[in-house]
């Protein structure tokens, strides 16, 4: 008996080269682990890429970077003293951690910064009182009377501090804007407190010293935080410690996804193992089967992380489905070997390589189709899938001829006989042919369901944050008077001053909205930094008022016990020409503290955000602001949903083109007789799937649509393999069914995922592949002649 040696020198070199590549990849992966893997769990990654580089994209990027660096921790107890002591204890434990910064900004620095920044410009600041004068609602003598009365009040400490340096009290009036923080908070001994549900909560702001999406940082920071919580609870039993921040949501998302990926991966692996064992009943053989899979995942994980700089948990969940597809190549390799005699087995590569290559290419194209939707998250999945499948395919071609030495694989030869009988039945003429029946049923389903397709691209369907975390976050946000970033106003301008002036135009409109109760407040840069135009206007108004009311001012100074030199100082100040610039403000400590309000440079100019609190009626806000130039109300959820809707329409077009290209390619390779029969499998399967979902009243989303690309990529293989291997129909059909079963097992598990994205893709591919395998024998309905199978001229 001739020993089974399917390799030659060429395959040996290919195997060596491939193993070298595997070793290099393993080294890179080890280095990545050492450096720290970044595993994302935020839907941010799924945001439309179009936003990146645009004003909105920059605003969001800036915000996430800023917000991600902080946490808020509350420590609550019915006894205020106990809450304060527990807060202090928690802070002490956390202050030792290298992952948190619990220190407060040095107050002496801030004081100097605030006074030294604004004092030189005090006579051009839009204090509330002076704005009334410029609006004609008041005059300088009235302001002086009001100032005098404030000084006589028993609680006038705030104003008396400034009176000798700023007799018009414009600076303390203006600085009140900086004092206005939130309604519910109060301060005791420098500590922010709020009351809720019969408890006093001490608020601890904490800065992170790392990336909240970095898996290793998450682990270490959370360990420190939980330790601090535990120690505090030990010392103060019963205290409540709510905390929130991007770190918490990111860590929770990562933990849940990690669990899910592990479950999907393990279950998928178990099902595939079971199927293989039932078919081949050999443990050593199972090891061969998983080799391409392990190498595929190794390559996909390493290079996708290298390309993107991170990996999303959704990608890993999706990647678990690779298990089902990558074993297909192994099946076909083994099935071909099983269907041939030992002598024939040396030609295995030349026999299966064309079909396997075409199948791998179509699957890779299917995954690449995911990238047609301009969403970075889907693009990452596409890259992961393409790399993983390519590596699995190359492993089969390069390594199997070296390691696979058995000549018979099926444990039970009756399986082959039964498969061949079934194929014969499928090829029989007449209406009872099961393939014809499936095809007919699919066409009826399409006819019934296609007209009832309804779409829903609402991003909120993909929300994944657990209710208890959202509740804690809302609790803290409500009590701290936090703005909601789900909706905000974006102000764009050609220059920095343009943005400030537009915010000043917007301010009275928002004040009106606040007065009518539509919002409870707003926060924008121009509240804290007047535009140069406004500064000039106020200075001019001060100058005019001083010349008109010189006598009254002198009398006012005299009554207070201030000499005439003060009048000269005010006049001199009001005649200066210096203006407070954005750069000067931004480089101060104050600018750093209000970083979230800063103006960002874009390709077209500048942009800044106006944050709104407790919006009641968004349409009223849109109506009130829609006429203002450069001002746009943004509802993030609606904005993303609209983008998803656009991308869905684009994806439908892109996928239609892909199907047409695949059809032309098939016609070129297999001629006009078989090309249409092969494409009909994934096409009818995809349309039937969409129709079935429609009949089940599942709304169509972008993710259902892109999943039909996978149906094409993976499902087309079945018809190709059946057509390519007509001589070994039985074995091939077994391989096709096994492939489909493992693919369905993997994607079926995705359908159980808590992630909306994975769920939609999972359901679509599960149904699609089921229909593909049922429809794949359609190609066998047309008998093949010898000429059909002969290579075309020039083809070897």
């Amino acid at each position: 008996m001739t020993p089974f040696r399917p390799w030659n020198k060429g395959t040996k070199r290919a195997a060596q080269l491939w193993l070298l590549l595997c070793a290099i990849t393993l080294c890179i992966l080890t280095a990545l682990f050492h450096k720290g893997l970044v595993l994302e769990s935020s839907v941010i990654s799924l945001l439309p890429e179009e936003e990146q580089g645009t004003a909105l994209g920059q605003v969001m990027e800036h915000f996430v970077e800023y917000a991600g660096a902080h946490l808020v921790i509350g420590v609550g107890d019915p006894d205020e003293e106990r809450a304060l002591a527990a807060g202090q204890a928690l802070r002490s434990v956390l202050s030792v951690s290298t992952h948190f910064d619990t220190s407060q900004t040095k107050t002496s620095d801030i004081q100097d910064s605030l006074i030294s920044l604004f004092a030189p410009y005090k006579h051009q600041l839009p204090s509330a009182s002076w704005q009334e004068i410029t609006a004609g609602k008041s005059d300088l003598p009235a302001l002086l009377r009001s100032n005098e009365k404030k000084l006589y009040l028993p609680t006038a400490a705030w104003h008396t501090r400034f009176i000798a340096r700023d007799p018009l009290l414009m600076l303390p009036d203006f600085l009140q804007r900086y004092l206005a923080i939130t309604k519910n908070l109060r301060v005791r001994d420098g500590q922010a407190l709020f009351q809720s549900e019969g408890k006093t909560f001490v608020v601890l702001p904490v800065a992170l010293r790392g990336n909240p999406f970095d898996a290793e940082f998450q682990r270490l920071a959370l360990a420190d935080l939980h330790y601090a919580e535990e120690k505090t609870r030990e010392a103060f039993p019963g205290v409540e410690i709510p905390w929130s921040g991007i770190l918490r949501f990111a860590a929770d998302g990562a933990e849940r996804m990690q669990g899910e990926v592990s479950r999907i991966g393990l279950c998928s692996l178990a099902i595939v193992t079971l199927l293989l064992f039932l078919c081949f009943r050999s443990l050593s053989y199972l090891a061969h089967m998983f080799l391409p899979l392990v190498i595929g995942v190794l390559f996909a994980f390493t290079y996708t992380h290298l390309i993107f700089g991170n990996l999303h948990w959704i990608t890993l969940g999706f990647g678990a489905s690779l298990i089902g597809i990558s074993v297909d190549y192994t099946y076909h390799y083994f099935c071909d070997l099983s269907a041939h005699t030992t002598e024939e087995q040396t030609g295995v590569l030349s026999r299966i390589a064309p079909g396997l290559t075409l199948g791998a290419l179509s699957s890779i194209l299917g995954f690449a189709g995911l990238a047609t939707a301009p969403l970075p998250g889907l693009r990452q999945m596409a890259v992961f899938g393409c790399i993983g499948l390519s590596a699995a395919y190359l492993s089969v071609l390069c390594i199997f001829p070296r390691v696979v030495k058995r000549s018979s694989f099926f444990a039970d030869s009756s399986l082959l006989i039964q498969a061949e009988k079934l194929i014969s039945r499928m090829q029989s003429p007449g209406s009872a042919n099961p393939v014809r029946l499936v095809l007919l049923a699919s066409l009826v389903t399409i006819a019934l369901g296609f007209s009832s397709i309804q779409s829903n691209d609402d991003i909120r369907l993909l929300q994944e944050a657990p209710a208890h975390l959202v509740k804690i976050d809302s609790f803290l946000r409500r009590n701290l008077g936090q703005s909601d970033i789900a909706s905000f106003i974006m102000v764009e301008g050609r220059s920095l001053q343009d943005v400030l002036e537009r915010q000043e135009t917007l301010a009275p409109i928002l004040e009106k909205q606040r007065n009518t109760g539509n919002i409870s407040g707003f926060e924008q840069l121009s509240t804290f930094l007047p535009s140069k135009k406004l500064q000039k206007d106020i200075r001019e108004s001060v100058r005019n008022a001083l010349s008109q009311h010189e006598k009254e001012v002198l009398q006012y100074l005299e009554r207070l016990g201030l000499d005439e030199g003060h009048f000269a100082d005010i006049k001199g100040d009001a005649s200066s020409d210096g203006l407070l610039s954005y750069q000067e403000w931004r480089s101060s400590k104050i600018g750093d503290m209000l970083k979230h309000l800063e103006i960002l440079k874009t390709d077209k100019g500048y942009v800044a955000c106006v944050f709104l609190k407790e919006i009641k009626d968004e349409s009223a806000l849109v109506n009130a602001t829609s006429q203002l130039a450069g001002i746009q109300f943004i509802n993030r959820a609606d904005h993303i949903s609209e983008a998803l809707q656009r991308y869905r329409a684009q994806s439908v077009r892109a996928i239609s083109i892909s199907y047409c290209l695949a059809f032309l390619l098939l016609c070129f390779r297999y001629g006009p007789r078989f090309g249409p029969c092969i494409i009909v499998t994934p096409l009818v399967a995809a349309l039937s799937t969409i129709s079935i979902l429609a009949l089940l009243q599942v709304p169509l989303t972008l993710f259902h649509v892109v999943a039909t690309m996978l149906v094409l990529g993976v499902g087309i293989d079945y018809a190709i393999f059946l057509h390519e291997n007509r001589e070994t129909q039985g074995a091939t059909f077994i391989a096709v069914v096994l492939s489909a079963l493992t693919t369905m097992a993997s994607f079926g598990l995705l359908a159980l995922s808590s992630s909306g994205v994975l769920q939609y893709i999972g359901k679509t591919v599960l149904l699609g592949i089921l229909l593909c395998v049922a429809l794949s024998p359609v190609v066998l309905l047309i008998p093949s002649t010898t000429a059909d199978r002969e290579p075309r001229s020039g083809e070897k």
Partner: protein, 237 residues
């Protein structure tokens, strides 16, 4: 994910709190000229009240003050402000009602009414025009008002959470002193002194910057029952 949620992620709560704390301290520091004034402290501050074992006189005075529901009369006030060559003197009437707050009516050198409550500070001029002196969001100012109101009411227990308490004298003539426990509070209130006989007769507040407010009460009326006159009328009369 800050899922969108994670995105919804989340407005930087920490930033607001940082701002709040920083401005609290800024506010405090603006008054902080010198805290090394221990040498000039009145002698009263050498007589601390031991909370665990207060003197009988202290217990008697504080229980007298605690039972007061309404406290009204005339006042004369003198403010000595750094940088001003003359003291700011005023007089008028006042009505203090627990828990509503203080209605402060200046009649000399001009007409001006002030309502101080835990939540707000509103001033009304002779023309009836009302003005909120601080926005309702000014947490720092509200903290100051709370201390002021507690001092006015002689709420020794409430004050003792944030202040060390001092006492001298007897029920017939007493002095109560309060000094902040934390350096943060000390930066905007150096000390408070209440003095009186049967009721409070005067109040002195020295802020962190050294400005002194001295208030003397006369024709004082004290009620231990709930008043029939609604406090809301303070600014509407």
């Amino acid at each position: 994910m800050m899922s969108n949620d994670s995105k919804n992620a989340r407005f930087p709560a920490a930033r607001d709190i940082c701002r709040l704390l920083v401005f609290c301290l800024v506010f405090a520091l603006t008054f902080a000229k010198s805290l090394a004034a221990d040498t000039s402290l009145p002698e009263l501050f050498s007589k601390p009240v031991i909370q665990e074992a207060p003197s009988a006189e202290f217990k008697e005075v504080s229980s007298e003050l605690r039972g007061i529901h309404e406290f009204s009369g005339n006042f004369s006030q003198e403010k000595k402000v750094a940088g001003l060559s003359r003291a700011l003197q005023s007089s008028g009437t006042f009505r203090f009602l627990t828990p509503e707050g203080l209605c402060w009516r200046i009649r000399k050198p001009f007409y001006s009414d002030l309502l101080v409550s835990d939540e707000e500070m509103v001033q009304k001029d002779e023309n009836g025009r009302k003005e909120k002196l601080f926005t309702e969001n000014a947490a720092v100012i509200r903290g100051f008002s709370k201390i002021f109101l507690a001092a006015f009411a002689g709420e020794t227990k409430r004050l003792s959470k944030q202040f060390d308490t001092f006492f001298s004298g007897s029920k017939e003539a007493w002095q109560l002193g309060f000094r902040p426990k934390s350096s943060q509070t000390a930066k905007f209130i150096s000390y408070i002194i209440l003095h009186g006989a049967k009721t409070t007769e005067g109040l002195t507040i020295v802020d962190g910057g050294g400005d002194t407010t001295t208030i003397r009460f006369s024709d004082v009326r004290v009620s231990r029952k709930a008043s029939d006159t609604p406090f809301a009328r303070c600014l509407s009369e």
